[in-house]
């Protein structure tokens, strides 16, 4: 497959392109979806394609070539189309290789795993043991292999494999909890623990009461805090800033969060999305994004970096830069300590449907789901239901008052789009609204 990537690049350059990138990907992922406590369908993929990026006279064309036996024809077609397109004056090339990459290898035990039923059973069993009645979710074995070549001398191979399980446990329609298990090593995969957490929250959320709107001190469980930090990571893409899709515009060097928050992006660290290189072939690395509340940089590819007079952060996607994996530096509070700091507030465990009224100001709302708890003096008083967090991303980040001393890897169905390593987070003055009728 290295040959295929190189052949695509060579062909594009022979046809007069100024830059070309080909990332040939073989996908061999496997999934079990489950609902009502058992598998509803199992899925297996055997796919290969080449993600291709060619530039002819600053005219940028991206594509996926599915038929790898006819790459020459496909590249000819792309270059022909590129010639009829328009130049992008902001295009500034791709990174100059060659590069050296970290020698990471997937866990052979993950690669050898071809049946996930026992992990589903472990998760469901864990939830039912805690009192749940009904469980749903998915188990994934992600496996893909990348062969990258660029016209600037980058050549790389990256075999990625990891395990993932998401489980929602329900006692009733309005009493539910969610748990996540992520691991790049089989020995670290804990589906039963995820099921237990989901079941425990669901049971604790029995007979929820209508909520009272207001402003509260809120303890965010790692899964929901991951939704917020995922927003931060995504909105720090320089592309998002330029498109008016970010509240972080013109804020580099300024305070965007409380001094409690230090946050970085790191595609090179161990996570279920670890990768050796970005879409330009630049080695992934740790990039400090927010240091003690001060914004340090956006996420860049070569072109956005030039526009912002800086260097690429190794976060190139095929067209726009994006986060690989978000890490929050843990705080100093144990779980018990951070709970005990909630004198009269809420503990939220999950959310979905985060939407903005204005991306530029950061005004948003998001709807907590699964366990919602009223806390007094660190203890759960009762479960609530039907609330909405109506606030502002910057306001939320600036009002972080404490972070837990342990992080968990979270990723979940759209809301947490890349792995986010997050602790419990205590945030004051959070707007909570409810349906008025």
């Amino acid at each position: 497959m290295e040959d295929v990537a190189s052949r695509i690049v060579d062909k594009a350059m022979a046809l007069g392109c100024q830059d070309a990138v080909a990332d040939v990907v073989e996908n061999r992922s496997y999934q079990i979806r489950f609902a009502r406590n058992e598998a509803v369908i199992s899925n297996q993929w055997r796919e290969s394609n080449a993600s291709v990026f060619v530039v002819h006279g600053k005219r940028v064309v991206a594509s996926d070539i599915r038929d790898l036996s006819k790459t020459d024809e496909a590249v000819e077609r792309l270059v022909k189309i590129a010639k009829t397109s328009q130049a992008n004056p902001d295009y500034a090339g791709i990174a100059k290789g060659p590069f050296r990459y970290a020698r990471t290898r997937p866990d052979p035990k993950v690669l050898a795993l071809h049946e996930g039923g026992k992990y589903v059973e472990a998760a469901v069993g864990g939830a039912l043991d805690q009192g749940a009645k009904e469980c749903a979710g998915s188990f994934w074995k992600y496996e893909d292999e990348h062969f990258l070549a660029t016209s600037n001398g980058a050549e790389g191979h990256d075999h990625r494999a990891s395990l993932y399980l998401s489980i929602r446990a329900l006692v009733s329609l309005e009493s539910s909890g969610h748990g996540i298990a992520c691991a790049s090593k089989l020995s670290q995969f804990q589906p039963e623990k995820a099921g237990q957490k989901a079941g425990r929250i669901a049971t604790l959320a029995r007979t929820p009461k209508p909520a009272k709107a207001g402003r509260y001190t809120v303890l965010f469980d790692p899964l929901i805090f991951g939704s917020l930090t995922d927003q931060v990571g995504g909105r720090l893409s320089a592309w998002a800033v330029l498109a008016g899709l970010s509240p972080f515009g013109k804020k580099v060097g300024k305070r965007v969060a409380s001094p409690q928050l230090t946050l970085y992006d790191d595609g090179s660290a161990d996570s279920i999305a670890r990768k050796r290189f970005d879409a330009e072939g630049v080695p992934t690395r740790r990039n400090l994004l927010v240091n003690k509340g001060i914004l340090k940089t956006y996420l860049h590819n070569t072109s956005t970096a030039k526009k912002f007079k800086t260097k690429t952060t190794g976060n190139a996607g095929l067209v726009a830069p994006d986060s690989h994996a978000v890490f929050v530096k843990p705080g100093d509070r144990s779980r018990d300590e951070i709970f005990s700091e909630v004198k009269d507030g809420l503990w939220l465990t999950n959310t979905w449907y985060t939407r903005y009224q204005s991306y530029v100001t950061g005004d948003l709302s998001t709807i907590p789901r699964d366990g919602i708890f009223h806390i007094r003096n660190g203890e759960v008083v009762e479960a609530w239901k039907d609330i909405r967090v109506t606030d502002n991303l910057l306001h939320l980040m600036k009002n972080i008052v404490a972070l837990g001393n342990e992080t968990e890897q979270m990723m979940w169905w759209g809301e947490v789009s890349v792995p986010n390593f997050v602790p419990y987070a205590l945030i004051k003055d959070v707007g909570i609204t409810t349906s008025n009728q």
């Binding site: 609902a35 369908i41 996926d64 009829t84 130049a87 329900l170 539910s176 903005y356 709807i367 009728q437």
Partner: protein, 471 residues
């Protein structure tokens, strides 16, 4: 006979010979093309040529699905083996069954007056640049703007072990735009989405430039003349866009039978409507909400679904009561009924699940003026920006983008960020009049794991709600 249908037939035969009690195969070839014009600059053009085959089998009451883009008999043999193997490994206690449906032999396609394949990249770019140029000449600051034009040509070949054999062709066109208007310290943002099944002629059906210019002007007017939205109980006239999103979110989604049965519980969620909830009252007697894949030129137009079932119009809510769930063959069997052709997949490599198509409030007889003239005090919310709804589809929020105060039946100044935060029954029960002018917008509907963001449209006429709480 063509090679694609041969391969599909081969897959089904292979699956049956290896023990599947039911098998289906779906070959898809998609030719997407799209670009983003960001702040006047063409960011990148994307051109795809995607094809592959997916096989779904039922073995011992369990489902297995496997997909490949290796379009050889060996490739297909391999995925059939995968699908059978993983289905057998499922060890289900309860057996999945499919509702019995008529088998179909059919070949349908959406006509194109001007074929998308014949439209050059230059022509497409020029069209959008023209709109961009118009909107930048309005004399106020548009801080950021991007337009995304995308089209796709989708060819499918479907066969199942019950004798259905269907070939179809759907060309689709879509324009999405996002604008940021700044005035002093104020910011207004909007995103709109238009879709079409058919050829390039769709681009002129929207009057895109006029719409975008009008939208930008209304954003600027909101910033310069807009006042705080009134709070408290009052009347609300919700424009077509608001009626459309509400019909999609709080009528379409809660009537998806897979959601009702808990199959989506961990992702898109469940439903406040229980499995025995047909007949349940959710709105006033004026509320009819329809999902219809057979509306010509609507972006989610189709005549057969991805399980080979004939498509038809579905009344989700009729006279304010739940009347029908959206069904595929699996959910229909579980609920003792028949599929109504709502099973769709975003591509060959994912299973088909229950989906909405074109969902809308059925029009009645009022003009917009008639809806407004009877309002003593209230808000006309023409469009929205922020919206969301909980995972049981009961608590929804729509935040106004373009909205105006109504006093004594007259539209007054713009009001900013009007918030409608109501339960589903509270919203629909407050409807006391329904307009006659139906309009649609396109959207992507998200569901399933792996996520399937699927073409959908939503619409309605303006509707009037009495005495609802606004902020």
């Amino acid at each position: 006979m063509n090679a694609e249908m041969d391969l599909v037939d081969f897959a089904v035969d292979q699956a049956r010979s290896k023990g599947a009690t039911y098998a289906e195969a779906r070959y898809e070839k998609q030719d997407p093309e799209n670009f983003i014009l960001k702040n006047g600059v063409l960011d990148a053009l994307y051109v795809g040529h995607d094809q592959g085959i997916g096989v779904r089998v039922l073995v011992n009451g369990a489902l297995g699905f496997a997909a490949t883009n290796s379009l050889s008999k060996d490739g297909v043999r391999a995925i059939v083996g995968d699908a059978i193997k993983i289905a057998k490994a499922s060890r289900r206690k309860t057996k999945i069954t499919f509702a019995q449906e008529d088998s179909i032999a059919m070949n349908w396609s959406v006509p194109e007056k001007k074929k998308l394949a014949d439209v050059s990249v230059e022509e497409k770019i020029a069209e959008i640049q023209g709109v961009d140029r118009d909107v930048t000449q309005l004399g106020f600051k548009i801080a950021a703007r991007f337009f995304n034009l995308s089209d796709n040509r989708i060819r499918k070949f479907f066969a199942n072990s019950e004798g259905s054999r269907i070939e179809s062709y759907s060309p689709r066109l879509r324009v999405f735009y996002f604008l940021t208007v700044v005035e002093g310290a104020g910011v207004e943002q909007t995103s709109r989405n238009y879709g079409w099944s058919g050829g390039w002629e769709g681009i002129s059906s929207w009057g895109l430039s006029d719409r975008v210019v009008e939208e930008a002007r209304s954003m600027h007017r909101s910033l310069t003349e807009g006042k705080k939205s009134p709070e408290g109980k009052m009347d609300l006239v919700a424009g077509s866009q608001v009626a459309g999103i509400a019909s999609h979110e709080s009528c379409g989604h809660p009537t998806e039978a897979d959601r009702v049965l808990g199959r989506e519980a961990a992702q898109a969620g469940k439903s406040f409507i229980p499995p025995d909830g047909l007949g349940m009252r959710v709105g006033s007697e004026l509320v009819n909400v329809v999902d219809d894949p057979t509306i010509e030129h609507a972006i989610a137009y189709y005549l057969t679904d991805d399980e080979g079932v004939k498509a038809r119009r579905r009344y989700l809510y009729k006279e304010g009561r739940v009347t029908e769930f959206l069904q595929n063959r699996e959910t229909a069997a579980a609920l003792g009924t028949h599929s109504n052709g709502a099973s769709r997949a975003v591509n060959y490599n994912v299973e088909a699940i229950v989906r909405m198509a074109n969902t809308f409030v059925e029009p009645k007889d009022h003009t917009l003026e008639e809806l407004l003239e009877d309002v003593k005090f209230g808000v006309y919310m023409k469009s929205f920006m922020e919206w969301n709804i909980d995972d049981k589809r009961y608590n929804a929020k729509y935040a106004g983008r373009e909205a105006y105060l109504i006093e004594d039946g007259e539209v007054k100044h713009p009001v900013r960020n009007t918030i409608v935060e109501l339960t589903t029954p509270a919203f629909w029960s407050a409807v006391d009049a329904v307009g006659k002018d139906l309009d649609f917008e396109a959207g992507f509907c998200g569901k399933s794991d792996p996520g399937q963001a699927l073409d959908a449209s939503m619409g309605g006429p303006p509707i009037r709600l009495r005495n609802v709480h606004l902020r």
